[in-house]
């Protein structure tokens, strides 16, 4: 039975309570839409591929303390031994761990000289085992040769002649060339040092997850001559825990004047890297849930008050022939109408808040798919909240109509 007309006219004559509920729905929807948008934006960020085989990788840190600590010897023999371990697929010394938020960055340019435009990139030093250990694929060109690998230390200024770039970085430098055509091109580091691109790899994230050019990475054929050394190890599929145990045991049993410290899986690195984002998501979800509860309770309170105020009116309706279902239907319809006003205001509020967030904090623009979802959510919350009071209203005896209080 359609009761929309009389309900609408009755609401128009008694606007305050309805307007309060509508405003509450509007504010809740505005916040929820943008909160979910932020949660999903963070989720997208957190869900980006690093390019690694994270489930099977970990790194271990070695710190030399002996006066006669011979870093190149220890590094070469460590790697040689680690690569022989039965649960290890490959290993490499690396200067920075992807997603760890600590590493090296440089600028590359296509023309030599000061003042030329440069493109920022993360720099990873690896040997010829780098590609396999990182689990990145070459899409053009070739890997480093073992003979190309050299040691460098903090004072080394020269750069090796060959580099491997990620496709994103290569496209940024040479937007008009295909990966195959980019191989063999020269780029310049530190303004004038030429590097020849010998390979293009598919994808490897920089160490800084919040970096705008997070997909710009390059490999250089260097090892780092330092007492402080990090080995990235890739275990055979499903054997990471055994590999950690075997690598730590192998390194600790070697008496080369160093300590073995800090083994961390790439899974942990990812979790640590995105801990802030995860916390933000949790906070936003909490806000959403609390807001929904507050809105639902607000509706319950106002509807209960409204029903108590209209007990005789409800009894009269029952006396005049309204069935319990009619009374339920009346309050549910009334709520849907009020919520709909709130939802319309909420759509405007959601878009306005998003525009402000976009302009003020450079956040991504709102996807409009959230709006119908939020509308359905608001209607559901409204109906859920009004159901109990409406059910109680339906139980009001028609005999109340004849009571003269």
């Amino acid at each position: 039975m359609s009761q929309i007309g009389p309900i609408f006219r009755a609401l128009m004559r008694n606007k305050v309570g309805a307007l309060l509920i509508a405003l509450q729905v509007a504010v809740t929807m505005t916040i929820i839409v943008n909160a979910i948008h932020l949660i999903n934006a963070r989720g997208d960020l957190m869900g980006r591929s690093s390019g690694l085989d994270e489930a099977n990788q970990f790194y271990v840190t070695s710190v030399g303390y002996a006066n006669d600590f011979d870093a190149p010897y220890v590094i070469d023999t460590d790697l040689g031994g680690i690569r022989q371990l039965p649960s290890v697929d490959d290993a490499v010394q690396i200067n920075a761990i992807p997603m760890s938020n600590g590493g090296w960055s440089m600028g590359l340019q296509t023309k030599a000289g000061e003042g030329e435009n440069s493109v920022p990139t993360a720099l990873y030093m690896t040997d010829e085992h780098g590609l396999n250990t990182l689990d990145v694929e070459l899409i053009a060109g070739e890997n480093f040769k073992a003979t190309e690998i050299s040691y460098r230390d903090r004072n080394t200024r020269d750069w090796p002649q060959s580099v491997i770039l990620t496709e994103a970085l290569a496209k940024s430098l040479f937007p008009d060339l295909s990966p195959t055509e980019i191989v063999g091109q020269t780029v310049y580091i530190q303004s004038n040092e030429p590097l020849t691109i010998i390979g293009i790899m598919d994808h490897l994230q920089a160490p800084w997850t919040g970096w705008t050019t997070v997909n710009h990475s390059m490999l250089v054929p260097n090892k780092f001559d330092s007492p402080y050394s990090r080995y990235l190890v890739r275990a055979k599929p499903g054997q990471r825990e055994q590999a950690i145990e075997q690598v730590e045991q192998f390194m600790k049993q070697r008496e080369v004047g160093r300590m073995v410290r800090e083994t961390e899986t790439m899974t942990q690195v990812r979790m640590d890297s995105y801990r802030g984002d995860s916390a933000l998501q949790a906070i936003l979800w909490t806000i959403i849930v609390v807001l929904c509860i507050i809105t639902a309770l607000g509706i319950v309170g106002l509807v209960s008050f409204s029903i108590n105020r209209r007990r005789r009116q409800i009894g009269t309706r029952r006396a005049l022939g309204a069935q319990k279902a009619d009374i339920m239907s009346y309050f549910l319809t009334e709520n849907v109408m009020i919520t709909s006003v709130g939802v319309i205001l909420g759509i405007a509020g959601s878009i306005a808040l998003n525009m402000w967030l976009v302009s003020s904090f450079n956040l991504p623009r709102l996807s409009y798919i959230y709006l119908p979802i939020a509308m359905i959510a608001m209607w559901t919350i409204g109906l859920f909240a009004v159901w109990g009071p409406a059910l109680r209203a339906a139980q009001i005896s028609p005999a109340i109509a004849t009571r003269n209080v």
Partner: protein
Amino acid sequence: MLVMNNITKVFRTETVETHALKQFSLTVNEGDFVAVTGPSGSGKTTFLNIAGLLESFDDGEYTLDGRSVKNLNDKQLSQLRNEKIGFIFQSFNLIPDLNLFDNVDVPLRYRKLSKAERKERIEHSLDVVGLANRMRHLPSQLSGGQQQRVAIARALAGNPLFLLADEPTGNLDSKMADSVMSLLEEINQSGTTIVMVTHDLSQAERAHRHIQVLDGQVTEQKRGAPELATVNA
């Protein structure tokens, strides 16, 4: 049309048992105008509530338009109230947020009549009570007597089997009360059965029959039109 045989109604609390109606019997025939009087607590309102299917009873038999109401469920009782009974309340019980048209429309909507038929009925019944020109007014814009006329129009709009009036002049001054009683008399003369509960003996005397209730039982009956009603108490 309305037959009550040995109706018993007991209100129970943990400590008190109140017999509101005891072996109450009454028959109302078509076209009758019955006034029910009695002191406060005599059982008038309980009778009215049971007659109007607003309340259940504990024992006895109540037949409305040839149909026993004893075992009807809430939905069936609501339908029966809607189709057979027109209520007139002491406090008018108009819905303050709805105009006169929408107020009269309330019971008709529950009957799922077409919009056109509802409109015709509303306009006709408001015309009968002399308020057709004020159908867009709110109840608060009317006098008490006019509000009761709207309530009468609402009761009439559904073409009920009978009108059940609960102190219809109880909240009105004597002039307005007389006007409302005259209207009820006109309605009765046009063939509508009326059962009226009242405190006012002078109003009761205007009915065809005057039933007095005391301690939940009919104690006296006076006949204005004896061929139309029988009483068994």
